[in-house]
Symmetry: C2
Subunit: 142 residues, 2 copies
DNA sequence: TCCGAACAGTTCAAGGTTGAACTACTAATA
DNA sequence: TATTAGTAGTTCAACCTTGAACTGTTCGGA
């Protein structure tokens, strides 16, 4: 691949991320989590409300409702009504929820870490920098 | 983000790809294609059999069956039985299927191209090189 | 040539996802 | 203080996805 078009580069990158995800999925499931649930738990500290999670995860609200319902039923998440806004529920990780989430994170660290080990330390730093620039919502000024 | 862990870098990258995908999805749908169908059509030239597509797209076989059925019904894909192996169907893009696929590809090129425009030409080349190394199925020798 | 293993693709039922419409509540405006 | 618009979260029915089991075909070895 001499000079990939933007779309080809996107596709390559997409297959990289989904490939790692597929690799990791069975082990994460052993922790009692679907991948999507793992992503949800990972956002919970910064986005403690369902509507907030829906935006952060680019996922419809009903899907969040159903995922939270299950995560609550298995004791990974707790919900408490918010006193100053009775429409909202604040979600918090239970200790077992945090434990499952951190175990899943370790599995992902390990799998992607093996890929990153193909690069030198300076290449890894450069990759992180470039992806950081691309990921920002609006173009960063440089 | 000073020194992201592998998992954090994976997550950042995953959100980059899914963010671009969400951005592009409405326009691609106007071409008569779901994103997954676009990915399928994009693989068709290199992977002309359903079982082959299932492996390439990391997707269960029944899902491929249903997607192909729809794509055939709207005239984007044609299937012909393979004379030397009667179990298999060879799939080919129709002209309208190729047209839709190429239109979707142009939309993706455009959207990801806008992100890449944040980088210099040499940075883009370096990114492509690094992602190429990471994406290979087994570690490339260097 | 027969037989069993393996593969391509489909069917079906169970389960997951989601758009539309809804209830309950808050906030802004007059 | 009404009125109206907007937001949080849920429900429901329609649709999509998929594991398990199946049919039909190929292939290798006895």
């Amino acid at each position: 691949m001499g000079k990939p078009s933007p779309g080809e580069l996107w596709t390559l990158n997409f297959e990289l991320t989904t490939g790692v995800m597929a690799e990791v999925e069975p082990e994460v499931r052993e922790q009692g989590l679907e991948m999507k649930e793992f992503f949800l738990l990972g956002k919970l500290d910064d986005h403690p409300y369902p509507a907030d999670l829906a935006r952060a995860l680019i996922t419809p609200k009903p899907t969040i409702t159903f995922m939270v319902k299950r995560l609550e039923s298995v004791g990974f998440v707790q919900r408490q009504t918010e006193a100053d806004d009775l429409r909202r529920f604040r979600l918090t990780l239970t200790p077992s929820g945090r434990k499952a989430m951190e175990a899943a994170r370790a599995i992902l660290d390990d799998a992607f870490g093996r890929r990153l080990a193909r690069l030198s330390a300076s290449e890894r730093a450069e990759l992180a920098r470039l992806l950081g620039l691309l990921a920002e919502k609006q173009a960063p000024r440089r």
